[in-house]
Symmetry: C2
Subunit: 158 residues, 2 copies
């Protein structure tokens, strides 16, 4: 398999494949008589895993570190496992954050929908306008200090 085929199969560009090789994310492939890269299909599994690491927020440095450990073989098993465990924690945390955001968005979308329907939305003061030239609104609402642990409700200000 040459670089063009691999690009097609992996979804990466030839430039990106060469770049990954240059920085050490991918092992240097064999070359044919003309000096062209020849790839084993097995590399696709590696590219796929790298891609998953990337798309779940692992930066290039850690991917490089992992790639480097991989070349060291069985001796690096523990270190690789630890790296993956760290990433696992990060991913788990991200899922929590995203799930919270889903709630925030749903609240806000709902609020907007109600406002679009002309419903009066309160007690949050509706102030989407810039405060720049406006006189500071004399707040009637005594400043909502919400109890700890309570997520602030969606507000129209944002």
């Amino acid at each position: 398999m040459r670089i063009g085929d691999l690009a097609e199969k992996s979804g990466l560009s030839t430039d990106t494949l060469r770049y990954y090789e240059k920085i050490g994310l991918m092992p240097r492939p064999l070359r044919d008589g003309g000096g062209r890269r020849v790839y084993d299909a097995a590399i696709l599994r590696w590219i796929d895993f790298l891609d998953r690491l990337k798309s779940t927020g692992m930066g290039i440095k850690d991917r490089l570190h992992y790639a480097d450990l991989r070349t060291k073989g069985a001796a690096s098993l523990t270190e690789r496992r630890e790296l993956l465990e760290q990433h696992r924690q990060k991913v788990a945390g991200d899922i929590v954050r995203l799930t919270e955001m889903l709630d925030v968005l749903d609240d806000k979308i709902d609020l907007y929908r109600r406002m679009e329907a002309g419903e009066t939305v309160d007690p949050t003061f509706e102030s989407c306008a810039r405060t720049e030239h406006a006189a500071p609104p004399s707040k009637k609402v005594p400043k909502d200090e919400h109890r700890p642990g309570t997520r602030p409700r969606a507000d129209a200000e944002t």
Copy 2:
């Protein structure tokens, strides 16, 4: 509240706050006699929401677009809602991807743990070494073509 206080309360640096203002993510604040920025505490809610959008993967362009709509007031409600709904879909998709990755990682961590314990792990051929100078291994395993819908098992190659 001056920029230093806001930096402390928001967790952003003064440089970042000024940068956000420059690109239009944050409204231009009032100034005191000496030309220094004076912020209303309400801005914290906006910064917090911006931060959430960012940390859930919304790029600066979309955040800018949203910020711009916000300055337009009630007229932009529908557009804002649509933008948030788009982001909601993205976030929901991300959660799915991350959750899948959690499984992949758990499988792999488990595999590594078993390998560390000296367990023979098969049928995946253990080839962490670079193939560069090695003769292509004569594969005994007939190439695992897994059924569609079946997630490939964790492999020792990566």
